[in-house]
Symmetry: C2
C-alpha cells in the first residue's frame, strides 16, 4: 500500500526577485506544504482532504493541484487514472510566497515519483503552470519553476518555454515576513504601467545581469548592490505597510537586500548566513509589532532541491 | 630610453551586446590600435603622430587619448608631466567597434604601466571615460570597460560606477563586418524611443540574465538563445544594409547569434570555435559582395586581456 503513495514537501517560493521581475524566482525551505498522491482503484482525480485552508475547493477542476494533475494524466495518455491527493497547507493562499504553485508543483512531482518518473522537470513545470493558470488567469512559471527545480530559476522566455536553473551561493538565507493583509495579484498587476522609461529598463537589466553574475561567483557584495528594482517596486511599495522602513532597517541590520515577494504582501530579504537572517527576522518583528497587523516571519536557507519526497 | 616608453595593443570592442544594450560589452583581438606613451622632458601632453586616421586632431584637448591622459595626470597630481603619444589606428573611427575607446583606453593603460601602475583598472576606466565624453558627449563605459578589463564586462551602474568583469567561455569567437557607411552615434540614439513596453523590457532582462548565466556555464546553446534584442535592434536595424539577411544567413551557417556592434554600422556575430567564425565571415562576404558597399571583415577570439603591452 505504501509504495502506492508518495508524500512530498512542496516549498514556498519567492517570485519577482527584485530586479528580476517576472523572470527570477527562488525556492524556500520554509514555509512549505505537505502533500500525498496515492493510486486508487476508482478512476479520476480526487482531493480527499485539505488541511489548513478549508475554503479551497476539493473539486479537481477547481483546485490547482487537480488541474495540474489533469494536465499530467492527459499528457501521459491516461486521463482516467485514479489518483487521490491530500494537502496540508502551511503556505497561506494570498501570501505572495507561492501557495498555489506549491500545490501544483507538489502534486505533479509526487505523481511523477509515484509513476516511475515518466516526465522531465520541464514537463512537470508545464503541468504545474496549468495550476497557475487556474489560480491567477496566467500560466506563469516564476513560482512553479523554482518550486520544482529548486534554487534560483530564470524564465528566459515563454514562447518557447526556456527555463534556466541558476547557481545558488553556499550560504544564502532568506527571511520572509507575511503581513496578513490582502493584496490581490490582479490589483497588483493593474497598477503597473504598461510602458516604462528606457533608462529605467536599462538600469533594471544591468541589475539582472549583475544579480546572475553574483549568484555564479558567490559575490555577496555584488548581490546586495544588484538587489534593486527601479520599475515595479516603486509602484507596488504602497501596497505593503511600512515597506521602505522595513527594507531600510533590515539592511541596516545586515541583510543584503530584498523586495516584495511575488505581488505581495510578503516581503523577502536575503542575508549571508543564518545569523544575519535571524537578525533580519528580529528587525522585521520590531517594525511590525507595533502596527496592529497580524504577521508571520519565516527564516530559511535557499532550498536547492525543490519539491522533495518525505 | 626604452624603459621610458611603453607600447600597447589597444583592442576594438563590441558594446551593446544584443540584449545587453548599454551594459554589456566585449573586447576583440582584431582589429586593434597600436600606441606608445613616452616620458619627455618638456611639460605637457603631446600627440606626435597619428597613423591611419589623419583627420583626428593632435591637439591633446581635442583628442580622446589626450583628454583621457589629462584626467590621468590630474588625478596623479602631476598635471604638467611630459608625455608624448603616438597612435597607429587600425580601428576606423565611426566603425562602431570602439575606435575612440581604444585610443582612450590604450593611452591610460600605457601611462599606468609607464609610471609603475599607480592606478587600479577601475580608475583607468574612469579616465578613459573622459575620452568617451569628448568623442560622443557622454562619458559611457561600455567600450572602455572591456577595452581595459578584457573579456565581457557589465556596467551595472554609473552612479556609483559599478563594473563587473564577466566570465568568458573557452572557445568563443567573434566575426565583425564593418560596412563603410556612416552611422552617427547621435542619430542612432535619437531614433530610440524613450519609453518601451514593459513586456518587451521583461523579455530583454530575461535574456540578459540568460546571457550572463550562459557565460558562466559555457552553455553555447543558451548563449545563442539569449542573443536577442527586442528593444533596440528592431529600431536600429534599418540603419544597416541587409541587416536581417546577414544575421539570418550567419546563423544558418552556424553562428550563435549577434547584433549591431555599438551603434553600428558594424555587425558582430558570435560563434563557437574558429571554424564557425570563419564560415560566418565567408557568409558575410557573400551577402555584402554584391551590394556595392565597401566593407571589412574581422575574425577574432574574445580578447580576455584587454589593452596589453607589446
Amino acid at each position: 500500500m505504501n509504495s502506492d503513495c508518495i508524500k512530498v514537501f512542496a516549498p514556498g517560493t519567492v517570485a519577482n526577485v527584485a530586479c528580476g521581475f517576472d523572470v527570477i524566482g527562488l525556492a524556500l525551505d520554509a514555509p512549505g506544504d505537505e502533500m500525498t498522491v496515492r493510486r486508487k482503484d476508482t478512476p479520476g482525480i480526487t482531493i480527499s482532504s485539505i488541511e489548513g485552508a478549508p475554503f479551497l475547493s476539493k473539486e479537481p477542476g477547481k483546485n490547482v493541484a487537480g488541474v495540474a494533475l489533469q494536465a499530467f494524466l492527459q499528457e501521459l495518455g491516461q486521463p482516467d487514472m485514479g489518483l487521490d491527493v491530500t494537502i496540508k497547507k502551511n503556505i497561506q493562499p494570498g501570501s505572495g510566497i507561492g501557495s498555489s504553485a506549491a500545490s501544483s508543483a507538489g502534486a505533479v512531482v509526487a505523481a511523477n515519483l509515484l509513476l516511475g518518473k515518466p516526465f522531465t522537470q520541464e514537463k512537470l513545470v508545464r503541468f504545474a503552470m496549468e495550476g497557475e493558470r487556474l489560480a491567477s488567469g496566467t500560466a506563469h512559471a516564476d513560482n512553479v519553476a523554482p518550486a520544482i527545480m529548486g534554487g534560483f530559476t530564470l524564465v528566459r522566455s515563454y514562447q518557447p518555454l526556456d527555463l534556466i536553473r541558476l547557481q545558488t551561493p553556499d550560504d544564502l538565507w532568506v527571511t520572509v515576513i507575511h503581513p496578513q493583509i490582502e493584496v490581490k495579484t490582479s490589483d497588483a498587476r493593474e497598477i503597473l504601467k504598461q510602458q516604462v522609461q528606457l533608462k529605467d529598463a536599462i538600469r533594471q537589466w544591468g541589475n539582472v545581469g549583475a544579480l546572475v553574475a553574483a549568484l555564479y561567483t558567490n559575490d555577496y557584495g555584488l548581490l546586495s548592490r544588484a538587489l534593486e528594482d527601479v520599475i515595479v517596486e516603486p509602484v507596488r511599495a504602497i501596497l505593503i505597510p511600512a515597506f521602505y522602513e522595513l527594507k531600510l532597517k533590515c539592511k541596516e541590520a545586515g541583510a543584503l537586500g530584498g523586495g516584495i515577494s511575488g505581488s505581495g504582501p510578503s516581503v523577502f530579504m536575503m542575508s549571508r548566513g543564518e545569523e544575519n537572517a535571524r537578525k533580519t527576522a528580529a528587525v522585521m518583528d520590531q517594525v511590525y509589532a507595533p502596527m496592529g497587523v497580524d504577521y508571520k516571519i519565516y527564516v530559511s536557507r535557499i532550498n536547492t532541491e525543490g519539491v522533495r519526497q518525505i
